[in-house]
Assembly symmetry: C2
Amino acid sequence: MVDIAPKFNALLVFIEHRFYGDSMPFGNNSYKSAKTLGYLNSQQALADYAVLIRSLKQNLSSDSSPVVVFGGSYGGMLAAWFRLKYPHIAIGAVASSAPILQFDKITPWSSFYDAVSQDFKDASLNCYKVIKGSWAELDALSTHDDGLIEVSKLFRTCKALHSVYSARDWLWEAFVYTAMVNYPTEANFMMPLPAYPVEEMCKIIDGLPKGASKLSKAFAAASLYYNYTQTEKCFNLEGGTDSHGLHGWDWQACTEMVMPMTCSNESMFPPSSFSYKEFSQDCKKQYGVKPRPHWITTEFGGYRIEQVLKRFGSNMIFSNGMQDPWSRGGVLKNISSSIVALVTQKGAHHVDFRSETKNDPDWLIMQRKQEVAIIEKWLEEYYKDLKQN
Amino acid sequence: MVDIAPKFNALLVFIEHRFYGDSMPFGNNSYKSAKTLGYLNSQQALADYAVLIRSLKQNLSSDSSPVVVFGGSYGGMLAAWFRLKYPHIAIGAVASSAPILQFDKITPWSSFYDAVSQDFKDASLNCYKVIKGSWAELDALSTHDDGLIEVSKLFRTCKALHSVYSARDWLWEAFVYTAMVNYPTEANFMMPLPAYPVEEMCKIIDGLPKGASKLSKAFAAASLYYNYTQTEKCFNLEGGTDSHGLHGWDWQACTEMVMPMTCSNESMFPPSSFSYKEFSQDCKKQYGVKPRPHWITTEFGGYRIEQVLKRFGSNMIFSNGMQDPWSRGGVLKNISSSIVALVTQKGAHHVDFRSETKNDPDWLIMQRKQEVAIIEKWLEEYYKDLKQN
């Protein structure tokens, strides 16, 4: 956005989502209970954007300036939904890596972890197999008397672990996020990472001696994610603060943003199912409310989205990179002439929204050009309609 | 709807709006304060409809049955807005006499009373002049020592009046509602009325002796509205309960449904302006909240609706009868090939939604046929898309 804004003489406005960052509607009490947290939801956030954009345009005496909304990930969902619900405020939406179909039963629940696994399998079949086999080794260690000490040692933890699950979660996070950010150039999404980090991880695994344990190989691969800069002497696997700064997301996941996920037998993760009952009980316990698993699809749709939007809506770009596991819950096919899907095989989580670099591959340069051309068309039509009336 | 439902093998569902009728979310406390009344608004009502329709279809094992929403007046606004916000739930909307442009500064504030006046002027110029002159006579009487007694006598009130304003409001209501329901056949909208009641009122006025006062003529005309069946021996002008059953509307008008209205010098009513400040203070006093005059246009749009919806949205019928003063805040021009306006010069407030009678004029029969044909086209497209996927 920063790269293309000057081309459009555009003002860039980043609107903070209520209950995140500094936008606390009840100050320090915002997260106190369901009574206050009830105001943290996507519909109210969208309404905030509507009020803010309208008010801002009025203050700037630019009522007829067209507005295009951009977003990646959850922000991409919001961008798409904003265009659907507020077509009078935004002339178009660019929704990058927006898994708006990851709800209810639209997308198979196993697709996310299957996609992560596919990334690793594509890099190296051995790599995939090593990771897939590592969980059993970890489980086996956990039954040893001094298993925790062994795991702590193997994982080079700063403090002795209280639970083997910490090691599991630590590996898990490394593989999932590395798949998401499997970018073609060096990145610093949450951690600094090399270009195509999944391949790099697999090179590490494939390069280790045959005799080494699968778990030690998995650890070595995960270390790339946590310690690419080689500055960490030891790792804090437990009690870390939420590094993603999404402490409101837990609430949203327990109320509206219910995205059930399972691990199939084919994935490189231990097979697991999703129990709505258990999930619901956890939410009830933590927040005193029960999730509404059908709410998002009721409010924003999603089922048979091609048919619904074929004759409704316009001016939306859904961009997805197939390296990104979230892509499986995205819109991957054109819906109409003005609701288009831009899919790149080698792209990852909203890679198109990253700043231009001189190492960008051709497909990425091309994708961004397509996006600019589409936005230019929206603007052309907008100004044409404006003149005629 | 009752007439055409069998043609479509359709199930008719009338969904009651929250806070009206029996739908009291907090029982007897629903109207207690702004804390409970805060949940009475159009967005939450629309969300109710979405949840109810989806749940109903699931219970009836008819997930793929298409739904068309219908509404008249405020219900027509809701129908139009529902199609805009929930295109995945309703394949189309028939919005009759829906003044979705009566908000903010989209439609001139004087147009409503100008339209009422036009109805009477079209029936008879003398009639219009008599009514226009009657208010001054009432004002003059109010300055008399025994003015209230005189007015009570003239208006055949059951009890002596406490305020001349009651007579004014009584006349006012009769003229406004009669214009709204200026139907081509006998009606029983809120009161039983003859066909084309505005013409009948003006016949009464024009038939009275030249020497009679304008006020007495206005009273005689208004009597048609209140006593067409000639069963009333006297009239209760004061302390009547809200005959329109819209006790939630006051709250909505004081919060979101802000529709400023004025009387121009050309209208047959005493000229008046609209003071947002006064209105706001009244609302603050009554409910403890201030109105949001720009909210409806922020949430649902309305400004430049042709340009916005030209390339967005589909499958909507806006029907309006020009006799109806609300028509001036309606959509009176086609927006696109699938967002169409059906305008009848002799139609009144959602006349198309009344039951068929053998006296229906040709233009009304034709209008209803057009509506059925359009709905048939929506269904055809829906089933075609359904089959292809």
